[in-house]
């Protein structure tokens, strides 16, 4: 084999490895944010010019046109509180108190970040449509089938899914210490 053959092979290989590495490095989604709180992760760097090129590319792939943290905090959950990946065949309890934000919602997406069709034609719950109990708590069941009682959010269809919690105009305390703020609990109840 001639020398230039070897250089051609490694040039083509290097290009392929480089493109593959870029795609793999930027595919983590918003879930690879720096701040962790229970099942949720976020970063305060989204949508700002200070964001480094890698974070910017990750956000472009998983949350293009995302707002900065002062306007909206985007929390992502790909696992339950115990760290097990969210499974569309399982039943989860999502519960919490009223969140410190002007408005909030939790939306179910597939692994790529897209809405998936379901019989109820419902993909989210929000602060305006959850009912608070006597203790000021709300609770929603995320499951493939409608539960006998209580609020229901259809989960992913027989595959992995993700949740995005949006907090519009989060309170100052929340922005100052997001890792310690009280977020909804996400617990697997069964499969």
């Amino acid at each position: 084999m001639k020398s230039w053959h070897r250089y051609t092979i490694t040039l083509v290989g290097g290009l392929a490895v480089g493109l593959g590495a870029a795609w793999a490095l930027t595919g983590g989604g918003l879930g690879d944010g720096a701040i962790r709180n229970g099942a949720w992760t976020t970063s305060l760097g989204y949508g700002t010019k200070a964001t480094d090129p890698l974070t910017r590319a990750m956000v472009a792939r998983s949350g293009l046109l995302a707002l900065p943290a002062k306007e909206t905090l985007y929390w992502m959950a790909t696992t339950d509180e115990a760290g097990a990946p969210l499974d569309g065949d399982c039943r989860y309890s999502l519960s919490g108190t009223a969140l410190d934000a002007r408005w909030w919602s939790v939306t179910v997406y597939d692994e790529q970040g897209y809405l998936v069709d379901n019989a109820a034609r419902n993909w989210s719950v929000n602060g305006a449509n959850v009912a608070l109990d006597a203790n000021g708590e709300w609770r929603v069941t995320i499951s493939p089938a409608k539960p006998a009682a209580g609020a229901w959010l259809p989960g992913g269809k027989g595959g992995p899914f993700q949740l995005t919690l949006r907090m519009y105009n989060p309170g100052k305390a929340f922005r100052a210490a997001p890792a310690r703020a009280a977020l909804p609990r996400l617990v697997k109840e069964g499969c």
Binding site: S3, R6, T10, K49, R56, L64, L67, S124, N169
Partner: protein
Amino acid sequence: MRAWLGPLAFGLIVAAATAGAAILAIPYGLMNVAMERLGQGGINHMSHGNLATPERQPVVRPSPDLAYSTCPYDLSKGPIAIDMTPVPGRYSSLSIFDAATDVIFVRNDVEAGGKPFRIIVARAGQEVPKGAEVVRTQHDRGIALVRLLLKDPSEIGALTAIRGQSSCRTVTKLK
């Protein structure tokens, strides 16, 4: 085997350079795709979309609770004027993203005092109307996005008229 040392080192350098360049290029590429998908109503024109559903998701991770209006813009022929009319009593915001996906402007209804406002988006050096509020950008292209929170999806029909008051157009008069 020694004959491969040089080519392998070269391949590693190529891989690192390619990865770096691709990471820098990804935001621009995806922004172009988004402008293409959102630009069906035309460039420098505000389109008022229906709510996101599994059948209609022009951009990744859409919120099914928000009505989005979008204006993909191009400043190569001059600045644009964006008019935004908040809807009383609910969250709405105007945000502007440049070709690199960076946010260059955000204002919500509370910050606007619930009142309509106009923003001029212009490149450095472009002439703008006197007294106007101007956002300068380093890129010709980008997307202006209006988010409007719905209490219930069925509300969207009743909000058509007020959504239509938010608009986007090329600036033709400087006075």
